[in-house]
């Protein structure tokens, strides 16, 4: 069943996720090359001294990429389900409805997770030559909330897109925007370490919100 669900999701979103994956990895690769070029041209000395004095990661270009990819992923995946209420077909499948929804979300989260992991690997490998391990770790620690925001943004967007009532959808957008703000409070190297646990709790828990939208859909709620 899971295979069949993934098959359908891939037909629906394969193109989007392929392109989005390329964009995400492309940005990670670009940032990797960019910092290497900065190190080549201005010298690693300048790079290190800037990072140590400002405590800022030099990869803020990446900041919103995972979030944009995540939101786009949820729209690509769930907007076609809401188009002419196609979701009715999906929910009519002989499979437990929560599991069905869970499998669809798992599909998106897995792809985003894989892209994030590869991006991390790219970042890690591209900096291993030019940065000492403290800066490298600080940089990855700074990027971690952004990648978690990508997955969390995807889950919030799924909840929003699946909501049949426009009024509730607006309220949900407001809640999602405020919660996602927590992932972007500061860029400082390693500043998120004391509250990483909170992001790691919020992100997976957000997946259950879609059940509310599903329930509203099943009750035929509309404005």
């Amino acid at each position: 069943m899971l295979k069949a669900i993934f098959y359908k999701e891939w037909i629906k979103t394969g193109l989007y996720f392929s392109l989005a994956g390329l964009v995400m990895l492309g940005f990670a690769g670009y940032i990797g090359i960019y910092l290497n070029r900065v190190a080549d041209l201005a010298g690693m000395k300048q790079l290190w001294e800037y990072m140590l004095s400002s405590n800022e990661p030099m990869i803020t270009l990446l900041k919103y990429i995972p979030l944009i990819v995540g939101i786009g992923g949820a729209v690509a995946q769930f907007a076609p389900e809401m188009h002419r209420k196609c979701l009715k077909l999906t929910l009519h499948l002989p499979y437990e409805q929560h599991k069905l929804l869970g499998s669809m979300l798992l599909y998106g989260c897995s792809l985003l997770g894989i892209f994030s992991l590869i991006s991390f690997l790219i970042l890690y490998l591209s900096y291993s030559n030019i940065l000492p391990k403290e800066l490298q770790t600080g940089l990855l620690e700074s990027a971690l909330p952004w990648y978690l925001a990508g997955i969390c943004g995807y889950l919030f967007s799924a909840w929003i897109v699946l909501q049949p009532s426009t009024k509730k959808r607006v309220l949900q957008i407001i809640v999602a925007a405020f919660v996602l703000k927590i992932f972007f409070i500061t860029d400082s190297l390693g500043a998120y370490m004391p509250s990483l646990w909170l992001l790691l709790i919020i992100t997976p828990l957000t997946s259950i919100l879609s059940i509310i939208s599903l329930s509203d859909f099943k009750e035929g709620r509309q404005d």
């Binding site: 405590n55 500043a191 909170l198 259950i208 509310i212």
Partner: protein
């Protein structure tokens, strides 16, 4: 399952409300509160308050009796020396000491410690500058170093490789001075924008205190004798123009100590314990006295210390008129940290 989802949603909404509503309320109800500029006058033995209101400067003593700008200048000659000299009013002798514009310029000092600078996120890589390069301008070193459990590791900024020779030389120098790795506290001001370099103040694993710097490429390590039972917890290196100080530190209880050069003499100040995690520490000193401002959320207190003995001369407190509503906060001293503030 839907119930769980709804509970989770309500928790999220509660977090958002507790986070944003108090600060929004504070924003709506806030009145403008400009903190006055206050200095201790050794001449009048009183705190002098300067406020800018309606684009005019107003001066008062600690009893809020107004004084003219001219009087202000004359009772704070250390800070108004330029104006006094321009007005031909700078005396040669003040409080029994020969003074000059140059003396004031050279001996005045300032230092600020913000909570986020002490407790905020920090990358534990340090830069050991050459403190006697023979050049007027300071230069950032070609390497950084980390302090491990067993020694120092210098990493070249040129090729990100460990300079084993230098690491060994400096580690050995510290070990020879009986420094026990790792370091509990490391302080320095790695910057080209200072006049000279005092190097590092290090507290070792057993609480011993060291002055560490590089002189002509060679390690300089000197243990600083601490008063009995005192362990430096938060240490700050100073590079004041007067070159009379190496730095200062706070012990576990928050008492502060000044390290005077050339003998690295430690003198406990008359300040009460300072909570560096929640209070901002700012000192402005001159040849007669130091004004120390300690700002917390509820009040700000100015302390006057004698510039020689660091004994408390006087203090002056202003309570904040603002009574902000507390709420959920995700920020603390540069960290993202959940709390009720």
């Amino acid at each position: 399952m839907k119930k769980t989802a709804q509970i989770y949603l309500y928790i999220l909404i509660a977090i958002i409300c507790l986070w944003h509503l108090p600060s929004f309320y504070n924003f709506l109800t806030a009145e403008s509160e400009t903190r006055p500029f206050i200095l201790y006058s050794s001449v009048s033995k009183d705190f002098i308050i300067r406020k800018n209101e309606d684009n005019k400067t107003h001066c008062f003593n600690s009893k809020f009796e107004p004084c003219t700008r001219e009087v202000y200048d004359s009772i704070l000659p250390e800070y108004s020396a330029k104006q006094l000299a321009a007005d031909n009013r700078l005396q040669d002798t003040i409080l029994g000491r020969n003074v000059s514009l140059k003396l004031f310029t050279d001996e005045n000092l300032t230092y600020r410690i913000k909570p986020e600078e002490v407790f905020g996120p920090y990358i534990h890589l340090y830069q050991l500058m050459e403190s006697q390069s023979g050049r007027v301008e300071l230069e950032m070193p070609p390497d950084v170093f980390r302090i491990t459990d067993s020694g120092l590791e210098f990493i070249s900024k040129k090729d990100n490789t460990t300079d084993k020779e230098k690491s060994e030389k400096f580690t050995n120098a510290l070990k020879k001075a009986d420094f026990k790795f790792p370091a509990l506290e490391v302080a320095a001001n790695p910057s080209e924008r200072k006049k000279y370099d005092n190097g590092f103040l290090l507290t070792d694993a057993v609480g011993k205190f060291f002055h560490f710097k590089m002189v002509k490429g060679e390690p300089y390590v000197k243990q600083i004798e601490l008063p009995v039972g005192v362990i430096p917890v938060h240490t700050f290196v100073t590079e004041f123009a007067g070159r009379h100080h190496l730095g200062f530190f706070f012990d576990a209880k928050g008492y502060s100590y000044v390290i005077e050069l050339p003998e690295n003499k430690i003198i406990k100040t008359g300040l009460p314990p300072v909570d560096l995690e929640n209070e901002e520490f700012f000192v402005m000193g001159n040849i007669f006295s130091w004004t120390v401002r300690i700002s917390g959320q509820k009040e700000t207190t100015w302390y006057a210390l004698d510039a020689k003995s660091y004994k408390l001369l006087d203090k002056f407190t202003l309570e904040s008129k603002l009574k902000p509503l507390k709420g959920l906060s995700f920020k603390r001293n540069g960290w993202v940290e959940l709390g009720w503030r």
